[in-house]
Assembly symmetry: C2
Homo-oligomer: 207 residues x 2
């Protein structure tokens, strides 16, 4: 039997459901209906049920879903191991800021180290993880079997650095550089384009 492929958008939402379930669990809820969970996640109940159906069936008709069991099932379904190692590439303004952001750790991702072409010039005490020169990046990735990288280098260098990441075996890149990266199709790139987000918002401001 073939497992139907899960749409990318569903994956985002399913992760979001897991987070909502954590909160419900924390608040001592044991069961939750698709309607209540959907409201918490800002989606329609039918969409929630459709999304969950990609992973399996977890509810009981007439009663709803068991909060904690569903949370766990989602984590397993999405293949989340305990603590995923990640590296940060580029330790300028944005990169060094994200290193201090605690939201990643909370969700189970640990940034092992940061790499920067100008590593020598950057104050080490601003940064909570080891900072290395980009020269040793590939070796580090292989040694620690790192699969995920956060890319925060200036646009002009982004493609070149990305090539290095791919060659070293990185499989997923969270790209903050305002550049469209060309990578082999088996590599996943998620773009977070901050200026584009503002641009988009601005469009909806009535003038």
């Amino acid at each position: 039997m073939f497992k139907e492929e899960i749409p990318q958008k569903s994956i985002y939402r399913i992760s979001l459901y897991a987070r909502c379930l954590e909160r419900l669990h924390y608040n001592k809820h044991e069961m939750v209906s698709s309607s209540a969970l959907a409201t918490a996640a800002g989606v329609k109940p039918s969409q929630l049920r459709r999304d969950l159906a990609y992973l399996g069936t977890f509810g009981t008709r007439g009663r709803g879903y068991p909060v904690e069991a569903l949370r766990q099932a989602i984590h397993e379904g999405l293949g989340r191991a305990k603590l995923q190692p990640v590296i940060m590439v580029g330790a300028g303004n944005l990169g060094s800021a994200l290193l201090r952001y605690d939201g990643f750790k909370k969700e189970g991702y640990e940034i092992l180290a940061a790499f920067d072409a100008k590593a020598a010039e950057i104050g080490v005490n601003d940064i909570p993880v080891p900072l290395h020169s980009t020269d040793v990046m590939a070796a580090f990735i292989k040694e620690h079997k790192v699969a995920l990288a956060i890319l925060c280098v200036p646009g002009e260098q982004a493609q070149q650095v990305a090539n290095g990441l791919v060659n070293a075996g990185i499989q997923g890149v969270l790209n903050f550089s305002p550049v469209v990266l060309k990578v082999p199709q088996e590599i996943t790139v998620n773009n977070v384009d901050l200026a584009l987000e503002l641009e988009h918002l601005n469009y909806f401001v009535r003038k």
Copy 2:
């Protein structure tokens, strides 16, 4: 005649085209074909042409698009004034980092000021704009007619702060808090959920 409504996704892409056109202009290209521009933006030529069609017709059959004129037409079409004022709400790790990020200014957005509940405790010299207490936020928004806010407060406070923003007249929120904000439907919220992005990437890593 009714102007067809532009899909949200098209708006993102159109902004991206504008950025590619800037680069082409900088490199002294005067004309560009839909196929070349599409490659630069990582989309299909037919999609590019479809997107542009929402704004008008700018090309010449057989020759392509005039780089600079198209860039300007896009900026006008998306209703971009010169320098849009923005405020930053929350000056913790992420917020203060984004204040130092120069990508916003580059695209024509100026962060006027930052607000934080604990403004008094934060070192002012880390921050390149005036930092105020959240108490005076509403007055500032009204006085400076600010329409856009970047929200970087902890999840627990996000909804409450967002309510304050909406009441003060903010029309668009770029939300970095890992929380689904409930706002009136005329307010636009763009969510940038960093942990969710990593989660999504991780799903595609072959285990």
